[in-house]
Symmetry: C2
C-alpha cells in the first residue's frame, strides 16, 4: 500500500472514530492533574498511568518513569526505522481557581455549541495541553487502526511539570538521551494563526519565575498602635513592584535589555504581513490599549520583547470585612519572559539585586526560584519544517504561517541542548481558548482537524 492510500485510510478512520477520541479526551480531563499543588500529586501520577496504559493498548512500548517530582511517560513505537520523531506533550494542568467563575465543572468536559456553529470542549486542560497532546496520540491510534503499523518511528515523551516550572525534565532528558534521540522533535502546545490558518511556531520566549517574601516586623501589628511607626511590608512590596516598570512600559531592572536584539527587518516584515489585528486581540480580553513598551508593534511586544509580570501578590488581611493590621509579611510571584539570548540566571540575579537595593531598614527578603529557561528560536526552514508546512496547508486548505509565540516551552531548548534536536512547534489552539483561566476551551475543530493534521504530517515525513 502506498503512503497516499494509507493516509486516506487513516484520515477516514480518524473521522469515523471521533466519538471515541472525544471520550478518551474526556477521560483524561477527568483526572485532576494540577501539578503546582502538592495535594494533586496522586492525580498527576494517575494521568501518567492512564496515558501509558492507552499507549500500550495502541501498540507502543510505554512506561511511567519516576522523577523527584511528577512522573514522565515514555513510549516507543518501533514500527518503522526512519525517520524517527520524538513527540512531546504535558499532561499536567493549571489550578482552576477562582472556581466560582467556571460555568461548569472544570474537570467534566462539556460540549457547548456556539452561535457561530463552532463547538467548544470546555474544561481545564481541554486545550492546554491535554486536548493538544491527544491530537497526536489519536493520530497514531487512527493510523495504526487503519494500517497496522505507523509509517515512521515514533517516540513519545509526556511530562507532568510544565505548568509548575518543573525542574526535573531537563535532568530526565539528559539521563534518557540515548533512548530519546531522534531526527526531529514535535511539540503540540501552541496556537494556530487564526481560525482557519495553521501555523508552525519558530520563536518562543523564555521564562524566569521568582517568588519573593518580604518580612518587616516579627509579628502582625495593630495599625492603630504601630501605624506609621512600623514598616509595612505591603507598602514595601508595592514600591518594589512599582519600581520594576518605567512609565514607558519598559522593565527597569538594570541590564535587563543588554542581550535583547532588534528583530531582523525580514522577520519584522513577515510579521507585518500576517495582518495581525491588534484591536481584535486586545478586545478578546476586554482591553483597548497595549500596556507594554510604547511604540512597539503589539506582535513584537508579545513575541520578541521581554517582559515582567506580577502573577500573584498577597499580604495582610484579605478576607471579608476589614482588619486594621500591619502584617509581618507580604509576598509576590513574579515572572519574566525572556527573548533572544537573555540568560535566565543573569536575569534572576539582576532582579534579586534590584529588590535587595530597594529594601528599607528592618526588612528581609526571601527568594524562591520557580523555573528558568532561555528563549528559543528554531531554523525557519529545513526538510521537516517544509514537509510539515505542506501537510498543514493540505489539511486546512490555506497556506500555513510561520509565527512566534510569547509563551515559554522550555523543552524545545532542552531538546536542542541535550539531544541536538530541532523542534517543530505545531499546535491547534486559539488565542481565545482561555488557557490558565476559568472556562478554558478547545474547539472541536481543533481537536478533529488537529488529529487529521498529524496524520498528514506522519505521511509527509514517511514519503520520499
Amino acid at each position: 500500500m502506498t503512503i497516499a492510500t494509507q493516509l486516506e485510510a487513516a484520515l477516514a478512520r480518524a473521522d469515523a472514530d471521533m466519538d471515541q477520541s472525544l471520550e478518551r479526551l474526556k477521560a483524561l480531563i477527568r483526572i485532576k492533574s494540577i501539578s503546582t499543588d502538592p495535594a494533586y500529586a496522586g492525580e498527576c501520577r494517575r494521568a501518567a498511568e492512564w496515558l501509558a496504559a492507552g499507549l500500550r493498548e495502541d501498540g507502543f512500548e510505554a512506561s511511567v518513569r519516576d522523577t523527584p517530582g511528577h512522573p514522565v511517560v515514555v513510549a516507543h513505537g518501533r514500527d518503522a526505522l526512519a525517520p524517527h520523531v520524538l513527540f512531546y506533550g504535558h499532561y499536567d494542568v493549571q489550578p482552576v481557581d477562582p472556581l466560582q467563575l467556571w460555568n461548569s465543572d472544570p474537570f467534566e468536559a462539556e460540549l457547548r455549541e456556539q452561535p457561530d456553529g463552532e463547538v467548544h470542549i470546555v474544561a481545564r486542560g481541554s486545550s492546554d495541553d491535554k486536548g493538544q497532546l491527544m491530537t497526536f496520540l489519536e493520530a497514531c491510534r487512527a493510523w495504526r487502526a487503519a494500517n497496522g503499523t505507523l509509517p515512521v518511528r515514533v517516540s513519545i515523551l509526556l511530562e507532568g511539570e510544565e505548568e509548575s516550572g518543573g525542574k526535573n525534565l531537563p535532568g530526565f532528558i539528559g539521563g534518557a538521551a540515548d533512548e530519546l534521540r531522534a531526527d526531529v522533535a514535535l511539540v503540540c502546545d501552541t496556537d494556530m494563526w487564526d481560525r482557519s490558518t495553521p501555523s508552525i511556531t519558530t520563536m518562543l520566549r523564555g521564562l524566569v519565575g521568582e517568588e519573593i517574601e518580604i518580612t518587616c516586623a516579627d509579628k502582625d501589628l495593630h495599625s492603630g498602635m504601630y501605624g506609621s511607626a512600623a514598616r509595612n511590608p505591603n507598602q514595601v512590596l508595592a514600591e518594589i513592584i512599582a519600581s520594576l516598570r518605567r512609565p514607558d512600559g519598559s522593565v527597569a531592572v538594570a541590564g535587563f535589555y543588554d542581550e535583547v536584539e532588534e528583530l531582523p527587518e525580514a522577520v519584522a516584515e513577515q510579521w507585518r504581513n500576517l495582518g495581525f489585528d491588534e484591536k481584535a486581540f486586545l478586545a478578546g480580553a476586554g482591553l483597548t490599549q497595549a500596556a507594554g513598551e510604547k511604540d512597539r508593534p503589539l506582535l513584537q511586544q508579545i513575541w520578541s520583547r521581554p517582559t515582567c509580570e506580577i502573577n500573584g501578590m498577597s499580604g495582610g488581611y484579605t478576607g471579608d470585612g476589614f482588619k486594621t493590621v500591619i502584617p509581618a509579611k507580604a509576598s509576590a510571584k513574579i515572572s519574566f519572559r525572556l527573548v533572544a539570548s537573555q540568560d535566565p540566571h543573569k536575569i534572576r540575579e539582576a532582579f534579586r539585586a534590584h529588590v535587595r537595593e530597594r529594601l528599607p531598614a528592618d526588612c528581609t527578603v526571601m527568594f524562591k526560584e520557580h523555573g528558568g529557561s532561555p528563549a528559543i528560536a528554531v531554523p525557519a526552514d529545513g526538510p521537516y519544517l517544509r514537509r510539515a508546512l505542506a501537510a498543514l496547508t493540505d489539511e486546512w486548505g490555506k497556506q500555513a504561517a510561520i509565527t512566534a509565540s510569547g509563551g515559554s516551552i522550555p523543552v524545545a531548548g532542552d531538546f536542542k541542548r541535550l539531544l541536538g534536536l530541532d523542534t517543530l512547534l505545531i499546535g491547534f489552539a486559539h488565542s481565545d481558548d482561555r488557557i490558565h483561566s476559568p472556562n478554558e476551551k478547545y474547539n472541536l475543530t481543533s481537536y478533529h482537524r488537529g488529529i487529521r493534521s498529524w496524520i498528514r504530517i506522519l505521511a509527509a515525513f514517511a514519503g520520499n
Copy 2:
C-alpha cells in the same frame, strides 16, 4: 457606711472573687464573636446574650437590642441617682488568622506564667476588648456583692461591631439618646503608659477604611500569550499603593495635611517628659527604625500624625507553586488614621480621586467603604478626669499619666456629638498585648488591678 468603708469592702471582695472573675472572662472568650466575618454572626449574638444575662444576674436591667448588624447590650443599674456614668465596651473580636501562628486555641484562654513572674491570659479578645470590658463589669459586681448597691448610677453600652468598622452604633446611640445620656462616659479600650503607670487617654486618631478593587482585562489571562500587552492589575495596584507615600514617609494624597495642626508645644513638652523609649517600642515588634514621617518624634508619628496603611493586598495566584497568570482583578484594604479636624469624608474622597487619577486606560476601580470616624480630643482636666486620675494613682501607687493613642475609638466622638458627653478613656492593656495578632494576651495584673481601679473610680465619683 462611708464610701471609704464601702470601697475597702469592694476591693476585698474583688480580691477574694478573682478566680470566679477569671472563669467569667474565660467563658466570654470562648464565644467566637468575630464581627467582620458573617459566618460568626450567631456567635456575636451569643456573646451579647451572655453579657446581658450576667448583668441581669448582677442586678442590672439589661437587654439585647437588635441593629441591622450585630446586637447591642444596654444595661442600667438604678442604685444611685447621681452622678450617672455611661460605660462602653465591645464584645466583638478580630479574626484569628493566621491560625498556625497561635501556640494554643485562640478561644480557650490559657494562663501562662512568664519568666518575670507576670501571668498572661492568652486568647483572642483577652485584652481587646473582652478582658478590658470585664474589668468594669467585675468591679460593679464586686461592689454590689460587698455593699448591696452601687455608689453611682451606672449605664452600660456594649457593642459588637467595633472591629469591623460597624456603621450601626452611631444610629443606635442617636436613637437611644434619652436613655443613654449621662454625666460622663467611660471607655475601657486603651493602654496603660507602662507596666506600672496607669493612664488616661485624651487624644485618639480617627479612621477611614477603604477597599479598592482594580479590574483590567475581563478574564484571567496567560502571561505567555498576553504578557506585556495586557495591563496587569497587580502592577497597577502596586503603582497606586506606591504613590500613596512620599520618600520622606509622608502621605501623598492631595490635601491630606490641610487640616493637620502642629501639636501645641505644651503637649509636645508633656509627651517628651513621658520618657518614651522609642528603641524599646520598636524592638517590641522586632524593628529598629521608625518608618513614618522623617524628623518627627516617634510618639508624634503614632499619636498626633495621620498615616496611611495597607492592611491587605491580593491579586492573582497566591497558592503553592506558580501560575503564569495575568489576573483580571487585584484588590487592597487601605486605612487612614486621622488627627485633629481631618474630615473622614473629605479624606475618603481625596483618596478616591488620587486612585482615579492614576488609573491607566482599560482599568476600572470599585471602592467599598469600611467605616470612618474623625479623631477626637478630650479636655485634659475637669472634675471626673481629676478624680479618676487620683483613683488610678491610689491603686497603682504611681502618678497616673495623661497620654494619647494612635488607635481609633469612634464611639468617643459619637458620645460627644450625639449625647454631649466627654469620655474618659481608661484602660489597662499594654503595647505588647499583641491585640489583632496571634497569641493576644492580657496581663493577669491588668485584669485584677483593672477591676480594683474601677472600684476606686466608682468610689471617687461618688465622694463629695
